[in-house]
Subunit: 790 residues, 2 copies
């Protein structure tokens, strides 16, 4: 029982309810799903980046001991995974992604055939017996090749390799503004291709349930209902004939918010064989053949007046989306995001951002935590620092002069920003580094010839994407709403079902906090159910930091409706209006008589077991459902990151000495969870800034297919992060929360890059590309300019 | 797609959709559930009928190879299964049924300990190693012993062995009416103890789901939510922490509409061991240690005027309920039913029926198809025939003079009967036998010395029990309402979830017919989901012929609401009021323009994937839920059964030569399914009339523990049944249907018994007890009276 009425759980660092299970090894992940008679699948994958498939001969595969079946695209005859944007063909060229390659392969690792065997070893043996005859084509492995006139076409049905080309907002006369501006700075930046790298690779277990006439697909996805929609269409089943179940997940980060080909192929094999089939992606495939992210190329300029006030922002971003558009987000997700929102936290009077997506013979990309924002924030923040240097301004001060301070603020990009603490977070972050003495230490270190730099980044992040905001992107499918159902049973226990799905976000804790407050019950009485498409009509899933803003609002509404029903039943028993009652610690209380209470158990007994006592306008049972959507431009979390780095001469190593994050995600349902999100995001941001990169050779062969080559930072490389919370509640989410999932990743690369550049100040070398490798730093530190510094 | 708007499926013999699965061996029954690491349970059972348990020593059991664990009541510390009636203690004495016997055993077969082993064989071996020390007590094995002054007490906490003693309606001055009546006839009848005998014995598979924090219990029950309620209470878990899943079932007939001890004990073992545990009842236990039924003793009299019109009915019924009250129906179910409703289809001006339940040291009883009605109808119909003989009236004619013909009819028992075809069914049944020439053949046969008899029974059966009707019984839990949810997905497929559960009733077919009509969609697009307590908030389950009347009404309402939502979305797209649209073969059509249609798929795409296009007062997604309850005395199906039998002198065999059933269950959703119910019920009624009986010796030892001793009729003994349908639609169920599940069983014993007595007319022997054994018939046929017949 809760001890007092005002004892709210929202806002408290309630211990994660997932942890006892996960920390004692009792989590159930896809690979833990074992079904009687289960077979194991592996995929024959393309060994070349671009080729026509002359022949796929699986005859020998089927002879391998232990192999039960092997199927090509032809054998399975599945529908394609096709992501559509409702834009004119000049703006968007759709690409159909077949579940298994049919007549052409477009990247190394592309699945060509599925081999099903009694165990994974036999399946692997089967792969080696496959005979694939390629008629190789010239691969397109980079932007220059893709955009060159007469370039080979990745998709032969298109006339060029540009899938998306949009300029969402272009201020008239912007070129003149630049021509006449007293200060114009430029940045050209390339960001490395990354792997979102969830600890748990992708995987699926599929089986046919003959009684329910359903293909049951256990898979680790952030979007169970969307996987259901696509799987049913590919398999040519009614949607209800596919049930997607998501068990515990070891991360997703966007890589799992798109529909994978292998999970559909696994389902198809199970459907065909009427036996359970498991596929677990190995790390090599995860690094090279799953969805990648982040590779963008910015050519940007910003115009300033003499006081450092922005006059205009003009950028061109080319996003290398790899071989296919992913479902549902399409190749448009990155260029559209950059084109629409690049101005960020700043007042930008003139704006033009052209966003392009190109297709290349590399593994396709998916949204990855932050989606374009880590990159464009980095570019904008580089522009700010460069302008500060050009104008002789303090880099914090120039931001102060441009940052949005009055809300709601409608930008030149036609987006309205709800209230945030943009300036406050910047000031607080600077103050924190100052009070910790970093400015003094930097000066002292410099005097000793050490290279210490301080860098900042400011950003806001749209998190409450509703259908209005998605519809503005002209997507064929428009995420937005979410649903929740709250039930109370006769023991007074509450089960709340959400269409969102936690893959590390602690929903079992945070959603329960919301429900416990809404119903004023002990949190021990609340259980979240998620990840079963049969259990809730629809849910858009977990991405875009939407779970708490949208899903949590639906959960809050459903719980509140359930509370209203409890009060109505109690009021009927007392013969008073419901308004004269209130929820109080697992009971309903009369407002006019604090001693008159009816317990939830008592009311539930009436609702279920003695329904004849209910007023006729109250349905029996205790269930409430609610939908929530956002019908404006959404809500914006904001943060400032401040970083202190030291560059080591001999090794070129970038050591992060201090990291301060001042974040404002509105009401933090659980500050500890928010901090966990921040720290994890920052680690991934630092990884992108300094370490990780998926590279390809000139033939499109991936060169980092193991952790020997793909450098992932460990706890050693990731610093302590000091987190300060500000709280500007969102006015229209049900809890006042804004999203908190992606911010860390967005702020880190820019702040790190700025700090590195600050440390390199003496060298006059400026670095704008990520990852910043030790080699680059070493080269900069040994550059001739350094010798000339006083 | 449906071919035309008026092409309704309700009323048509749509082929059973369950059959392809079941007939090809793809059904999934509890015993088909296989889980990794699953253990197998068996029960140490009492070998004596009545004893104090001095010691239960499982030490040796735990040493048996393969045995993993063994638990007594003490080890598991479970709550009891307690069925409560809200009646004064003089009227109802509750009995707590422990999951495992604690300090006392009260019947042979009572579970004392659960043994869990790696397979069922090892578990059986374990049973033999159990050392149970009994301090035997005098057993109470029959009514005479139970009611004798100073009888041993089955429940030591009570003061007598009578659990229930009620006279619900007693006409004042009824004794004077009998004293003054020109004709009084009497019947004393005993009906044999029976086993409902589903082909599939009871069973359960339980496991702990650590992720959902749920004990998942696969069990074959007619009342999944009630099993959940009881299991959670016994296991001391929140109700939501138990999930009951019911797979395919091979019959239930009431035996499975109460909560079994073994399923709870199996769950407790799984909970304790955190491993899956399976228990499958063997036939011996099913025959002797599960729930039994039917043993009643009537002492009845009826008063008539000289024209054969009933003046009064006065009866005393003693129901031998065995050792415990079952949950939820209590030991009151049979005496209350008899006491309330014995007057049946007849106008009875004076009425008094005392109903008693007694407890004995025999396996406890559960409701069994018909619940008291097969017995009291038999007694009433014997009274009618006896009066006909006494007054020299034709047995059909005397019924005609008494049968209710004007509706609604409120009886002396305060029950209001909705319209039925009581007289029409009687006339049609007689006419059918006449037209088939049976009266002529009877006369001819008699002339040859053969013993052919014709017998009838008329009855009505309350089937639409709502909460009002159950509440009138003062039960602590009041069944009544049911819930349904209808969902449509983006492929236009509909899933409807019901709180009822088919265990042979063809719900997958009949509920789908209702939905297909309500939504005007192809039935191939409709799928029923049932049998998962997590999928629907509550359902009272399937018993009392309530599934179609109550559950089917909820399903119809939910589907209709879903249709309304489809129309509203279409209307919004067209900008017209919803009233100007209609559902039409998978589409919504404008009434004013037959060519303007929007497909369900299109509307679903809007509802789910383009929700920004929905009007703001329409929630996204396509779901509708509905509740249905009956707030009056319910609806009454009715029927007349007519039987022709021949008695064979040498063997005493009763051969059924013809069987006609004229039934009226209102709108028959699927006449073929109704006929299947009739035929199956009649077979069970004949079984009770002529074959089956569970007997005990004086020590309470069951003497029929295999099919060698418990005589079950086969297809050979069950005749062809000619069925005629009448249709008096129910005014307040959503489809006009009345229940059809139990009627066959109710009518058969009375008709068979009357026919046998008609065949015995020459012997002047009258038989009133069931089963009528060949020995009894043989004795009657060789009685001295026969010699004296002209």
């Amino acid at each position: 029982m809760r001890s007092a009425k005002d004892d709210r759980l929202v806002g408290r660092a309630v211990a994660r309810r997932e942890d006892p299970r996960l920390l004692t090894g009792h989590g159930r992940f896809v690979d833990d799903v074992e079904l009687p008679g289960m077979l194991h699948a592996q995929f024959v994958r393309s060994t070349v980046a671009h080729a026509a498939l002359a022949e796929v001969d699986l005859t020998q595969v089927r002879q391998v001991p232990g192999v039960v079946a092997a199927f090509t695209a032809m054998d399975l005859d599945l529908g394609d995974i096709t992501a559509q944007l409702g834009r004119p063909l000049t703006e968007f060229v759709p690409t159909a992604m077949p579940v298994l390659a049919r007549d052409r392969v477009r990247y190394v690792g592309e699945p060509i055939a599925i081999v099903v065997a009694i165990d994974a070893y036999a399946a692997e043996d089967g792969l080696e017996a496959a005979k694939v005859t390629y008629e190789t084509l010239a691969p397109v492995t980079c932007e220059d090749q893709a955009l060159a006139p007469g370039a080979p076409l990745v998709h032969e049905e298109a006339t060029h390799n540009t899938l998306v080309d949009v300029s969402l907002f272009a201020t008239e006369g912007i070129d003149e503004i630049f021509d006449n501006a007293p200060c114009v700075v430029r940045v050209e930046a390339r960001t490395g291709r990354q792997n979102a790298l969830p600890l748990e690779t992708r995987g699926a277990v599929a089986h046919w349930d003959g009684r329910e006439e359903q293909l049951v697909l256990h898979t680790c996805t952030q979007v169970p209902h969307q996987v259901r929609t696509v799987a049913s269409r590919c398999l040519r089943l009614d949607e209800r004939a596919v049930r997607v179940i998501v068990p515990d997940m070891g991360g997703g980060f966007g890589l799992k918010c798109v529909v994978g080909r292998e999970e559909i192929a696994t389902a198809a094999a199970a459907l065909r064989l009427r036996r359970p089939v498991k596929w677990i992606e190995d790390r090599k495939d995860a690094l090279s053949a799953s969805f990648l992210a982040r590779e963008q190329h910015y050519t940007a300029r910003a115009a300033f007046d003499v006081d450092g006030r922005i006059l205009g922002l003009d950028a061109d971003v080319v996003c290398d989306m790899g071989a296919y558009s992913c479902y549902p987000f399409t190749a448009g997700i990155e260029p559209l995001m950059a084109s629409a929102e690049m101005s960020g936290v700043y007042k930008v009077p003139a704006y033009r951002v052209r966003g392009r997506a190109i297709t290349t013979n590399k593994a396709p990309t998916a949204p990855y935590r932050g989606v374009s924002r880590p990159q464009y924030v980095m570019v904008v923040e580089r522009l700010m620092e460069r302008a500060a240097r050009a104008l002789g301004l303090d880099p914090v001060e120039i931001r102060r002069r441009n940052i949005i301070t009055e809300f709601p603020y409608t930008g030149v990009n036609n987006i309205t920003y709800d209230p945030g603490s943009y300036l406050e977070s910047l000031n607080l972050c600077e103050q924190a580094l100052k009070e910790a003495g970093w400015y003094g230490r930097q000066a002292a270190a410099r005097a000793e010839g050490r290279h210490i730099g301080i860098g900042y980044s400011c950003f806001s992040e749209r998190t409450g994407y509703g259908s209005t905001a998605f519809a503005a992107r002209k997507m064929e499918v428009v995420p937005g709403f979410d649903l929740a159902e709250a039930r109370m049973d006769t023991s007074g226990a509450v089960t709340v079902t959400s269409g969102t799905i936690s893959h590390g976000q602690s929903h079992e804790t945070t959603m329960a906090q919301i429900v416990a407050d809404a119903l004023h019950v002990d949190i021990a009485k609340v259980k979240l159910h998620q990840g079963d498409t049969d259990r809730i009509t629809y849910g858009w899933g977990t991405f875009a930091s939407r779970s708490i803003t949208v899903g949590g609002s639906a959960v809050r509404l459903a719980a509140a409706k359930l509370g209203d029903k409890l009060r109505a039943i109690a009021a009927a028993e007392w013969g008073i209006p419901p308004e004269e009652t209130e929820l109080d610690r697992g009971r309903v209380r009369r407002r006019d008589d604090p001693d008159a209470v009816l317990t939830h158990e008592h009311l539930a007994e009436t609702a279920y077991l003695k329904s004849h006592l209910l007023p006729k306008d109250i349905d029996p049972g205790l269930t409430a459902t609610a939908a929530f959507d956002v019908f404006n431009d959404g809500t914006f979390s904001n943060a400032t990151h401040g970083v202190v780095v030291e560059l080591h001469e001999g090794t070129g190593q970038v050591e992060i000495l201090a990291y301060v994050c001042v974040e404002d995600c509105g009401v933090a349902i659980n500050p500890q969870v928010v901090e966990g999100q921040c720290r994890g995001g920052i680690a991934q941001g630092i990884a992108g800034a300094l370490f990780e990169q998926v590279t390809y050779d000139g033939q499109g062969e991936p060169s980092a297919t193991s952790f020997m080559d793909y450098k992932v930072p460990t706890a050693h490389e990731i610093p302590e992060v000091t987190i300060h919370h500000l709280e500007t509640p969102c006015a229209f989410t049900e809890t006042g929360a804004k999203g908190a999932g992606e911010g860390g990743t967005i702020g880190a690369p820019a702040a790190v890059l700025n700090a590195v550049n600050d440390a390199l100040r003496a060298t006059r070398v400026e670095l704008d590309n990520t990852p910043i490798t030790p080699e680059t730093v070493h080269r900069a530190l040994t550059s001739p300019a350094l010798e000339q510094t006083p």
